[in-house]
Symmetry: none
Subunit: 200 residues, 4 copies
DNA sequence: CATGAATGAGTTTTCATTCAT
DNA sequence: TATGAATGAAAACTCATTCAT
């Protein structure tokens, strides 16, 4: 019973921290996070030794979810779309957590042991999807992971820190993907960017 | 004559602030900035009433330079390349000032009167270059400013916050630009990404 | 149980602040007040959000005591002397807290909600005592609250900011009270001012 | 010509300081005083070595004026009224310079050499007027300088720091003076306090 | 285990005073 | 001599972290 309580508290703190960081940026206070979680500061510190550790845990949880999504895509989707779907999903995830990365970077969170292990797994997952896509000719062959990572990072940051309506993000991604595909994979005349659903 | 001294001090503070912010992020202390500039804290405050005001002045100066570059490109370069050159220049500028934007955003710098006026001018400059490029068929016609801004922001953020070797950034931009160009403007077989000069 | 500790700390801070303000005037530092109270500055700020708030709390406590004294006098003393006793007590209280008012005014303490509520109660208490005294002919009938308040303020300020030996204050008050009484209430020949106990 | 300029500047600074202190209290800044005087801070410091020295000079000028008034009254008025007139004048002067004394005391201005010399002259002037009045029976004989000084200080402070409409101050002073007069000098039935001119 | 009061180093900002021009 | 830019000590206030209850 104790264990359950502790676990619930940990989860509550994590959730509260994500919200508060999104709202207040890197300046968010531990007191406030505790208040939102409905616990005392002491409890926050019982679960996360340090503010930085708490922030790192948030990232960790996020990345874990994305990794699961990557695994799912690899089995469920065709190599032709899996890479693009994953890319899109990461960006959508970022857009849904406005300015969180910002807050985390502002807080000076460094890649620690666990994080760098996750980083490795993330890279591996992405590499697989990329190579699969290249094998079936869905992605141009002269592109490589470093570029992909840079493009992914840029897209995520723009989605997270900017305030773009969904369709704008979609079209920006479409442009990006057009650049990523081999010319032959583009429908003749190009992928006309859709403007239908644009919000006012 | 004193005015000259004051102006020099102002410039020194601005320069020191840019450096220190780049190094230490939003947490940079006013004391440190003053020390680097070789002046007392009081002098920093004489020129910039507030930490936030100092940060705003840095952005302002940066944007001003870019606006001048835009004007220069419009006369000196052909519409075919001006847009891409400007885009590239902004990203290079961002790359050269690692984590400054970060620091600025972390400091909660708001778009103030002057800033928002600059924002307007920046949009105008970019719009001109974009339309010029579309007119001569260098940029696909179904792309519009919102997407361009999102792509630009993403590229700048990636360049600024990431630690990519130059060639990686170049290739990522090349991919992006391929997506921006109309299919007809791409050499058949695509723009082969160059790998020659890659740094270790 | 912690609450008891917190309350003790609050009281300590209040007491220390009263002392330090009396000694050093409005320029007293929060650090020093904390040191005297034997707590950290943070604790001072936990209990009083602001220097001004701390000062306001001191006044509040003082006035509360005087209000209790007024209530006591109304039941315990005869209307003939109660007014004069209360007046005297206020002045004595002021004399006992040298330069505190000074410090408080210097700090720009404004009448806030609670304060102005106290102010109202204080006026009410004084008004009752005044009217009682006038009803029994102990105070001239042509005097009214505004004058009484002005006289009281003057007497308190003199007592607080000046450095008068007790007998001097007593005689000054005696003169004042002679002016407040109806001529008939003065012993023929006036109230001879006592000089017996004068200190050097 | 230089001398005249310097003297004008000194006077300007003095005047500006009096105004600014009255408005902003002890916290008034030297910069602001200089600005109001239409000179640079450096000039303020040329005339007054220290903030405290400036404040002392203000008091000094004030007292000098009052001393001249005392001398004038001694020749021009009858002993019967001269004392009361002087007392009234000091209080009126205080009322006209709201919170200046406050500012000065708050600034920790100490009695310096010059000041204490003035203090002596002030006491002497008041003593003369008091004794003259006692000789002609206008002031009760059992009152002495210490009480008078205490009463005067109280009245001045009340006038300066309070916000009493003129008639209230007048009536308060009338009460005070009734206490100061021998019973025989009060018209039978007392000096009815006038209520005629009271402002709404 | 949870709580939240206490701690105090750390930061921003102010302002009297100095001094180069 | 006047000016006002520069100085930097001082002071208010914050907040991550600890620890008694």
């Amino acid at each position: 019973m104790m264990r359950a309580d502790a676990a619930r508290n940990r989860a509550r703190v994590l959730a509260a921290a994500e919200v508060v960081l999104g709202e207040q940026g890197p300046a968010a206070r531990m007191d406030e996070i505790a208040r939102r979680a409905g616990v005392g500061v002491g409890t926050v510190y019982r679960h996360f030794a340090t503010k930085e550790a708490l922030y790192a845990a948030i990232i960790s949880a996020r990345v874990e979810l994305l990794l699961q999504a990557a695994a799912r895509l690899r089995t469920a989707a065709t190599p032709k779309t899996a890479f693009f779907d994953f890319f899109t999903q990461i960006v959508a995830d970022a857009a849904g957590r406005k300015s969180l990365t910002d807050a985390l970077r502002g807080a000076g969170v460094d890649p620690k042991a666990e994080q760098s292990e996750q980083r490795t797994r993330m890279r591996a997952a992405l590499t697989e999807l990329l190579h699969d896509a290249q094998r079936v000719g869905a992605v141009r062959p002269d592109i490589d992971m470093p570029e992909v990572l840079a493009l992914l990072r840029g897209a995520s940051l723009a989605a997270e820190t900017g305030d773009y309506p969904g369709p704008v993000l979609d079209r920006a991604l479409a442009v990006l993907f057009d650049g990523v595909r081999p010319p032959t994979a583009r429908p003749s005349g190009g992928n006309r960017l859709s403007r239908a659903a644009e919000l006012p």
